[in-house]
C-alpha cells in the first residue's frame, strides 16, 4: 500500500512539477528581462488552451495541428498585450502600478471573453497521446510523459537560446544593464516584446498540454498562475535554474502532502513552505541579487 502511494505521489509530483516549471519559466523570463510581474500569465494560458480547443472542436482537426496553433495564438496575444499596454509605460515612473493593474484587467477581460465566446461549460481538450501504462499499480499516461519531456526540453532550449544565440545574448544584456545594452544599439523595447512573446508561447503550450488533465473553463488559468508565481518566488525571481528545481520540489512536496494528508492541505502546505522559505532565504532557492539576472 505504501509503495503504490509513494509511486503515485512521485508521479503526480513530477508531472505537475514540470508543468509548474513550464509556467514559471515564462513568468521568470519576463520578470528577469522586463521587470514585469505578468498577472495576465494565466489569461495567456487560457488563450492558448481555448485556441487549441476551438481548432479541434470547430475545425475538426487533430490535436497535433491544434497544438502549434494554440501556442502561436498565445504568443501573438502576449505580443499584442505588450504593444498596447506595456510599451506605452516602459521607462515611465508608474511602470509597476500601471502594468500590475493592466495585467489584472487583461486577465479579467480574457476570462469574460472566453465566457462569452465559449459558454461556461467545462471543455475537453483531447490529449496528444491517449495511451497509458501501469507501473507499480499507478497509471502512467503517455501524455504525462510527453508533458515532462517537453518541459525539460524547453528548459534546455531556453537555456541554450539565452546562452548562445545573438537574440538570447541581447535579452540577457537588456536584463542585466538596460542602459548599456541600448548604447550597444540593442533595440531594448523590441527585445522586451520578444521576451513577452516567448513567455506567452510557453504559457500557451502549458495550456494546451495541461488541459487534458483538468477540464478547461474560463477561470482555469488562475491556479496554474498562482502555482507558477509560487514556484518563481521559491526558485528565485528571474532565475531559470531556480524555476526548474523549484517546480519539481514544490510539485513533489504538494503531491506528497496531498497523498498523505489529504487534498485540502495541499495549498496551505505549499504556502507554509513558501513563507518559511522567504524567512530563511528571502531571495529564493537560487536567489540572484539585483545585478545579475537570467
Amino acid at each position: 500500500m505504501q509503495d503504490t502511494q509513494i509511486v503515485q505521489a512521485m508521479w503526480g509530483g513530477i508531472l505537475f512539477g514540470s508543468v509548474y516549471g513550464l509556467m514559471a519559466l515564462g513568468l521568470t523570463l519576463v520578470w528577469g528581462a522586463v521587470r514585469l510581474l505578468n498577472l495576465a500569465h494565466g489569461a495567456i494560458f487560457v488563450v492558448g488552451a481555448y485556441a487549441a480547443y476551438w481548432v479541434v472542436a470547430s475545425l475538426h482537426l487533430p490535436i497535433l495541428v491544434a497544438l502549434p496553433f494554440g501556442v502561436l495564438a498565445a504568443a501573438v496575444f502576449a505580443y499584442l498585450m505588450h504593444l498596447v499596454f506595456i510599451r506605452p509605460v516602459i521607462g515611465k515612473p508608474g511602470f509597476d502600478n500601471a502594468t500590475l493593474i493592466a495585467t489584472v484587467g487583461i486577465s479579467i477581460s480574457v476570462s469574460a471573453a472566453a465566457l462569452l465566446i465559449f459558454n461556461p461549460e467545462y471543455k475537453v481538450v483531447p490529449p496528444v497521446l491517449s495511451d497509458s501504462t501501469i507501473v507499480a499499480g499507478v497509471q502512467i499516461t503517455y501524455q504525462g510523459l510527453l508533458v515532462i519531456g517537453t518541459s525539460l526540453a524547453l528548459f534546455a532550449i531556453v537555456h541554450l537560446f539565452l546562452t548562445y544565440t545573438r537574440q538570447g545574448m541581447a535579452i540577457r544584456a537588456v536584463s542585466q544593464q538596460t542602459e548599456a545594452a541600448s548604447l550597444m544599439s540593442i533595440p531594448v523595447v523590441q527585445t522586451y516584446g520578444i521576451v513577452i512573446a516567448i513567455s506567452g508561447a510557453l504559457a500557451g503550450l502549458a495550456g494546451v498540454l495541461l488541459s487534458p488533465f483538468f477540464f478547461l473553463n474560463p477561470q482555469s488559468g488562475f491556479n496554474p498562475m498562482i502555482q507558477a508565481l509560487i514556484v518563481t518566488i521559491f526558485g528565485g525571481l528571474g532565475s531559470i535554474r531556480g524555476a526548474l528545481v523549484a517546480g519539481f520540489v514544490l510539485g513533489v512536496f504538494e503531491s506528497f502532502v496531498e497523498v498523505f494528508y489529504g487534498v485540502s492541505w495541499a495549498l496551505p502546505g505549499v504556502f507554509i513552505l513558501i513563507i518559511v522559505m522567504l524567512i530563511v532565504r528571502p531571495n529564493g532557492l537560487f536567489g540572484i541579487g539585483e545585478v545579475r539576472r537570467l
Binding site: L37, I108, L116, I275
Partner: protein
C-alpha cells in the same frame, strides 16, 4: 502636524508651505454643506417612489467607499500591493457574525470587535510580508485571501455554517423602529462610519506619517536613507487600513443579516480595484468617486450582463496605462476653480521645485 513644526516667527512672518497646512485648501463651507446634505438627503429620498432603494444604494456606496479608500491608502499611497483587502473585510464580517450568532451578542457590541480582529489579522499578515518587495506581497496576500476563503468553507461549523457562510446573523435593531425609519437609521450609521473613515484617512495622508508614506512610494532609496523606517510605516498603514475595512465588513454583515462565502469571489476584488483605478489611484477623493461611479453604473450595466466584466477589465487596463491618475484630477480642477477657498499661492521658487518627482534610476523596484 502642529504649528510647532513651523519656525517661530521672528521679525517677518515666514510663509508656510501649502503642503504643511492642507486644511487651508479645504473649504469648511463645502464640507459642511456636503455633510448637511448627507443628513437631509434620506428624508427627501424616502418621499420618492423608489426612495427606499436609493437609500440602500447610498448605504452600499458608503461601505464600498470605505473599503476602497482604505485599500487605496495602502496600495495607492503606500505602494503595498496587497490583495488581502477583501479577506480582511471578510475577517471583520465573520468576527461580528460569530459573536452575534453563536454567542448571542448585541450587534452594536459585536461590531466593535470586527475592526480589532481585522487589525490583528493584518498585523499577522504584515509581519512576515511587509519587509518583502512588491511581488512577494502580491503573492502572500493572495495566498491569505485563498486560505481565508478555503477556511471559511471547510472550517468548523460555527464559522463555515456548513459551507455557505453564516446566514442567520441578527441585524441591527433600533428599538421597535421598522420600515423607512429603520432604513434611515441604518443610513446614518453607515454615514457615520464613512465620515469617520474618510476623516481618519484624510488625516493620515496629511500627517507626518502620510508624508513619509508618499516619500517611500516616490523614492524608496532616498526616503530610507533619510531615516524613514519603511517596515514600521508600512505596518502602521496596513493596520489602519485593515481596521477601517474590518469595520465596514462588520457593518455589512449585520446589514445583510449574514455573510456568505461568496465575498471571497474574485469579482469583489476586481470591483474595488476598478473603483480605485477609475476614480484616481493614490488620490484622496478618487476611491470615493470611483465607488459612486461603479455603484451608479452597476444599475445600468445589469442589462449587459456578461459583458460587464469584459468592459471592466478593459477599462481598468486602459486607464492604468493611459490615465494613471484616473478621473479625480478633473474633479479637483473644477473644485479649485469654483469652490476652493482661495487660489493656491503662487509656487514659492525654491530649490525643492527643482527636484525631479522621481529619481531617474527608479526602474521597477518591485
Amino acid at each position: 502636524m502642529s504649528t510647532g513644526a513651523v519656525a517661530p516667527a521672528a521679525t517677518a512672518r515666514p510663509a508656510i508651505d501649502q503642503a504643511a497646512v492642507p486644511w487651508r485648501r479645504v473649504s469648511l463651507l463645502a464640507v459642511g454643506g456636503t455633510v448637511l446634505a448627507g443628513i437631509v438627503l434620506p428624508w427627501v429620498l424616502v418621499r420618492l417612489d423608489i426612495g427606499d432603494y436609493l437609500v440602500t444604494l447610498l448605504i452600499l456606496f458608503f461601505m464600498q467607499a470605505v473599503v476602497a479608500q482604505s485599500w487605496n491608502l495602502i496600495m495607492g499611497y503606500g505602494g503595498i500591493y496587497s490583495f488581502a483587502q477583501v479577506a480582511l473585510f471578510a475577517v471583520g464580517g465573520w468576527t461580528t457574525a460569530v459573536l452575534a450568532s453563536s454567542l448571542g451578542w448585541n450587534p452594536f457590541i459585536a461590531i466593535l470587535f470586527s475592526p480589532v480582529v481585522a487589525l490583528v489579522a493584518a498585523v499577522g499578515i504584515g509581519l512576515p510580508t511587509l519587509r518583502l518587495r512588491g511581488v512577494y506581497v502580491v503573492l502572500l496576500t493572495l495566498a491569505f485571501h485563498e486560505l481565508a476563503g478555503e477556511f471559511a468553507v471547510t472550517g468548523p461549523r460555527f464559522i463555515s455554517g456548513g459551507g455557505y457562510g453564516l446566514t442567520t446573523v441578527p441585524t441591527f435593531q433600533f428599538g421597535n423602529v421598522i420600515g423607512e425609519q429603520r432604513t434611515i437609521y441604518l443610513y446614518y450609521l453607515a454615514m457615520v462610519i464613512f465620515v469617520i473613515a474618510s476623516f481618519v484617512i484624510w488625516r493620515v495622508i496629511h500627517s507626518p506619517l502620510g508624508v513619509a508614506v508618499i516619500a517611500l512610494r516616490d523614492s524608496e532609496t532616498y526616503a530610507v536613507s533619510r531615516g524613514i523606517n519603511q517596515f514600521r510605516i508600512r505596518l502602521i498603514l496596513f493596520a489602519i487600513s485593515a481596521f477601517l475595512t474590518g469595520l465596514a465588513g462588520g457593518y455589512m454583515t449585520h446589514y445583510n443579516g449574514g455573510i456568505s462565502t461568496s465575498v471571497f469571489n474574485f469579482s469583489n476584488i476586481i470591483d474595488l480595484l476598478a473603483m480605485i483605478v477609475i476614480g484616481g489611484w493614490g488620490t484622496f477623493g478618487g476611491p470615493i468617486l470611483g465607488a459612486a461611479i461603479i455603484i451608479g453604473l452597476d444599475q445600468y450595466l445589469v442589462g449587459i450582463g456578461d459583458y460587464r466584466a469584459l468592459f471592466e477589465g478593459l477599462i481598468l487596463a486602459v486607464i492604468a496605462v493611459f490615465a494613471p491618475q484616473g478621473l479625480w484630477p478633473l474633479i479637483r480642477k473644477t473644485y479649485d476653480k469654483y469652490l476652493g477657498p482661495e487660489p493656491p499661492a503662487p509656487a514659492v521658487p525654491s530649490e525643492q521645485a527643482a527636484y525631479p518627482a522621481q529619481l531617474p534610476n527608479q526602474r521597477g523596484g518591485g
